[in-house]
């Protein structure tokens, strides 16, 4: 990579820079004439005589001559500003393109680092390098040549102008430049060193913050917050010190500069004044010189700050780029090549040595052969070199000496397009990507875009623009919206078959139950799959029939009934008999919805609900005001959280007082209504529900359904024959609520639902719905075990010729034993390397290699 910023800029944007320069040069005459014209207007048009003047063969009298000159001035102002505008946009665009190129290049270089290199760098340091640190470079690139050329040219033009008026004045104008030219770089050099230090220090801070976030549980578990606080605070002080030094020097430079600049007019007035008095200079010329000098200060200042910026940005560029140029970086080919060679044959390690493993241990002189199509265990405790040997066999790391071959291909000479497609490797530390379960399962099949999407009209235009920009900045042109799943590689014909295959594998690794549960909890859009919604509705019907037939079961649920109050559901559900179409809307936000507000006011329910809310708030305050927040009682049972207590105390106090002021605000009223909405009468026996109120609710419900739900998309009514998208699949299966006042009602009804779901064959569809479950950041919403199983299925779905598992499914439980048997069965006929630390588990395999302290032992 280009070591210097100017090298980088010139290499990738020389053409554009020259173009910018040319346009800039074009502006010089315009600027010069702009300077010259006012003098002409004053001296010649206003004060001149001997008219008319002849221009292009036309005679002009004094006033038309003045008008002509003034309009030429106006048009030049327009031209010069237009050119400036055009240039600025052009430069901005160039800067952004170059920044994109640089950032992408840096990211690609990160991908090209060899794995052991990542032990030396941390993401906390690399992320700010790619994102914020190079940001300034983008703004700078457009200016890199143009600004010094433009402002420098401007300076030369104006100095030239002054010199033409009077050489002595010219000398006076530039008298301070040599001093500034000497002192300022001296000061700047120190600033550059400080900026370097600052960048490094900030990186360390970023890294430490990142580490604190990753290890936050450890911090709390060890009460180490003080230590980390002190550590960060120390670094921040360091940063302050450096910055303070930088400021001091930066402003000293500015001070010197301003001082020098304002010293010069002193010479003007002295020398110029003298010259005018002596009659050697016209007063008009002196005024023009002073005006020109004022304009001189602008470019000079710009040049100086450009100089400072150049120093600053170059440092940033270098401090970033030097981190992305390790000696042993992979060729770009390794990432970008799309050629696959056939990796069939024995896995052979020939006197392989490797150093720099996780704990610094080495692998010494290993020679082994795993025949193609056989299953083999690699046994050895952690630190024995087992993981390293398996990573060597997967081509993830390269041997220091010796050769790792599959068939007659040396893995070190192959690209990711072969290694990553023909070898499935699942190591002990799996990573699950932020996204859905489906994304994670099919991750191993997404190597290149395969079927581009159909585009036309506007979207085609947008796509073409995206494509040309990518080419402009040497970014890849892979289409993110294309179909990436490689069905052929997985050995299936289409998406349905792939889903089926994934399901089989999920069953093998015993995670299907978990995904089924996630599927029940997920929401799904019935417009995507009518059939599935219909099936769910059928289950709902079957369930309702069974409930009607079995009184025992009927006692456990309260089904939705338009004319009945459901004591196990919240007041809001009862009143609206509908749910907000947007599942993100919480019960606290519902009272603020415009339609709800009008409805409540029209039916008089606003007052009633506020009364109920007030009663609840009062009771909660009475019951929980003496309860400490950490006892858990408040969180589990109260309607009000600890933080809200003071607020509700205020609300209750105001509501109870007779004075009309201050009175409750609308927000207070909404909060009370929100409390009332959350009331589940069967659970919260606060004595606020009377039979009359229930009747009122049911009749108001009808109004709401007729007036709001029918006319708006914001609410979805409870209808026995309609799938309710805002609710989870589980809540859609049961058209009602499990009774809260019956013991274990939820569990018992769930059992019934499960049997019906299985009888109707809906289980599979619900599991597929679970594929859409979002796993959270890096799979944080899954357990560690689930993450490993998902990663395992991902590896198996690749259907690779060689499968390498390290420290996966190595339990001694019966479940894991069956799993291993299943794995061997699935992978029969393929090469299978299985890493474990347990000799008994290894005994299940026909073939074993035992590693001890980095050596193969017999």
């Amino acid at each position: 990579m280009e070591k210097s910023l100017f090298g980088f800029i010139w290499k990738y944007s020389s053409r554009q820079q020259i173009f910018i320069l040319m346009v800039t040069v074009l502006t010089y005459p315009v600027v010069y004439i702009l300077l010259e014209l006012p003098k002409l207007i004053v001296n010649d048009a206003v004060q001149g005589d001997n008219f008319p003047r002849t221009i292009l063969g036309i005679d002009f009298d004094q006033v038309p001559y003045l008008i002509l000159l003034c309009f030429s001035f106006l048009s030049l102002v327009v031209v010069s500003n237009g050119l400036k505008f055009y240039l600025n946009v052009y430069k901005g665009r160039l800067g952004e393109r170059m920044l994109r190129r640089l950032r992408f290049e840096l990211f690609q270089r990160v991908l090209r680092f060899r794995l052991p290199h990542f032990r030396k760098v941390s993401s906390g340091e690399i992320i700010p390098m790619i994102t914020s640190e190079v940001e300034d470079v983008g703004g700078y690139i457009g200016e890199a040549f143009a600004l010094p050329a433009y402002q420098g040219g401007m300076l030369v033009v104006q100095i030239g102008f002054i010199f033409m008026q009077d050489p002595l004045l010219g000398l006076a104008a530039i008298s301070s430049y040599p001093i500034q030219g000497y002192v300022i770089p001296l000061l700047q050099r120190k600033v550059v060193l400080l900026s370097r230090q600052r960048v490094r220090n900030i990186r360390v801070i970023a890294d430490k913050v990142g580490e604190s976030i990753t290890g936050v549980a450890e911090i709390h578990a060890n009460d180490a917050a003080a230590w980390h606080s002190a550590d960060i605070s120390d670094r921040l002080y360091e940063n302050f010190k450096i910055r303070y030094d930088i400021f001091n020097r930066k402003f000293l430079i500015k001070f010197l500069n301003n001082f020098m600049n304002q010293l010069t007019p002193f010479f003007f007035y002295l020398i110029g004044g003298y010259l005018v008095i002596e009659g050697n200079l016209s007063i008009g010329a002196l005024l023009a010189v002073i005006a020109a000098y004022k304009d001189l200060a602008g470019p000079w200042k710009e040049l100086l700050s450009f100089y400072q910026m150049t120093a600053d940005v170059s440092v940033k560029y270098q401090t970033v780029v030097e981190n992305f140029d390790p000696l042993d970086i992979y060729d770009q080919e390794r990432l970008t090549s799309d050629d696959t060679v056939d990796l069939s044959g024995d896995v052979k390690l020939e006197s392989v040595n490797f150093a720099g493993g996780a704990a610094g241990q080495e692998v010494v002189d290993i020679s082994m052969t795993v025949p193609a199509g056989s299953a083999c265990a690699i046994v050895g405790p952690d630190g024995s070199g087992r993981s390293e040997v398996l990573q060597l066999a997967a081509g993830l790391v390269a041997p220091v000496s010796g050769k790792v071959c599959i068939g007659n291909h040396d893995l070190d000479k192959l690209t990711d397009s072969t290694l990553g497609r023909q070898i499935a490797y699942v190591g002990g530390a799996v990573h699950v990507w932020t996204g859905t379960i489906r994304d994670n399962l099919y991750y191993g099949l997404r190597h290149r875009p395969l079927v581009p999407p159909q585009r036309e009209g506007e979207s085609l235009k947008n796509y073409n623009r995206r494509l040309s920009e990518a080419k402009e900045t040497r970014n890849p042109t892979y289409d993110l919206a294309a179909e990436w799943d490689d069905f052929e590689a997985a050995g299936v014909g289409n998406e349905d078959e792939l889903d089926t295959k994934a399901l089989e594998l999920l069953e093998t690794v015993k995670i299907d139950k978990d995904i089924y549960r996630l599927g029940l909890q997920s929401r799904f859009d019935p417009s995507m799959d009518d059939d599935f919604a219909d099936k769910i509705l059928n289950v709902r019907k079957a369930l309702a029939e069974r409930i009607a037939d079995e009184p025992d079961l009927g006692g456990l649920v309260e089904l939705w009934h338009r004319d009945r109050f459901n004591a196990s559901a919240s007041l809001a559900d009862n009143l609206f008999f509908a749910v907000p179409a947007d599942p993100e809307i919480t019960m606290d936000q519902v009272p603020d919805l415009e339609q709800v507000k009008t409805f409540l006011a029209d039916t008089g329910f606003d007052k009633k609900l506020q009364q109920i809310g007030l009663k609840i708030a009062e009771t909660m305050l009475e019951l929980f005001s003496n309860v400490s927040g950490d006892s858990g009682l408040l969180g589990a049972y109260s309607f009000i959280t600890l933080d809200e207590i003071p607020d509700f105390e205020r609300i209750v106090r105001i509501a109870k007082s007779d004075q009309p002021r201050p009175g409750l605000t609308d927000a207070d009223r909404s909060r009370l209504t929100g409390l009332a909405f959350k009331l589940v009468p069967a659970r919260h026996r606060l004595g606020v529900m009377s039979d009359e109120l229930k009747r009122d609710i049911i009749s108001a419900r009808q109004t709401f359904l007729d007036e709001v739900v029918k006319n708006s998309d914001n609410f979805v009514a409870f209808e026995p024959d309609v799938y309710l998208p805002p609710l989870t699949i589980e809540d859609n299966l049961l058209f009602g609520r499990a009774r809260v006042d019956r013991r274990d009602a939820r569990r018992r009804i769930d059992d019934v639902i499960r049997t019906i779901v299985e009888e109707t064959g809906l289980r599979r569809a619900i599991i597929y719905a679970g594929f859409g479950y979002h796993v959270g950041v890096s799979g944080s919403r899954l357990s560690a075990g689930q993450r490993r199983k998902i990663a395992l299925v991902r590896g198996l779905l690749k259907n690779a010729k060689i499968t390498i598992l390290d420290d996966i499914a190595t339990g001694v439980t019966e479940e894991d034993r069956t799993l291993r048997k299943g794995l061997r069965q699935i992978l029969s006929g393929k090469t299978f390397l299985f890493g474990t630390s347990d000799a008994d588990i290894a005994a299940e395999f026909d073939q074993r290699f035992i590693l001890d302290q980095g050596r193969l032992s017999e």
């Binding site: 009771t619 003496n626 009682l633 659970r683 026996r685 004595g687 809260v740 006042d741 013991r743």
Partner: protein, 152 residues
């Protein structure tokens, strides 16, 4: 079906007799109100107990396992508390409870009760006093029984 009726019932339970009203209301609020139709089991002998039952209405048969099968040994009815030992210490249920007719029961879970004790030590004191009285009575009964046995 309000807190007030439940508090009334709780007040009649000796274990809670000395506890002031607001705390009883809190106890009632955090407890679950459950219905049991006739014949449903409240708990089974031998299983781990995690809650006490305060009977608000109806009655339950107390059954014990004998070699001849389950045998009814007693009946508990309104305003009595059963299974309260379970919320104070970890012992398996000593008997099975089956609803003799439709019951309305307040279920106090062990965790919540212990939290309440932690929160309000004066409740612990009251509970301790009640238990001590019971112990004293049991000891006296035992002594009487021994004396009776020795005399007889």
């Amino acid at each position: 079906m309000t807190l007030e009726t439940e508090v009334e019932a709780l007040r009649k339970v000796p274990l809670f007799r000395g506890i002031d009203e607001t705390k009883l209301r809190l106890l009632a609020f955090i407890s679950d109100r459950t219905e049991y139709p006739s014949g449903e089991r409240l708990c089974s002998q031998g299983e781990e107990g995690d809650c006490a039952f305060i009977i608000l209405s109806g009655a339950a048969d107390v059954l014990v396992e004998t070699p001849e099968g389950e045998k009814k040994v007693a009946q508990v009815s309104e305003n009595s508390i059963v299974g309260e030992i379970a919320i104070l210490c970890d012992v398996p249920r000593t008997a099975t409870l089956v609803a003799a007719n439709d019951m309305d029961v307040l279920t106090v879970s062990k965790d919540d009760f212990l939290k309440l004790l932690k929160e309000f030590p004066d409740i612990s004191l009251e509970v301790m006093r009640t238990l001590a009285l019971r112990l004293e009575r049991t000891t006296r009964d035992l002594a009487d029984a021994r004396r009776g046995a020795a005399g007889g």
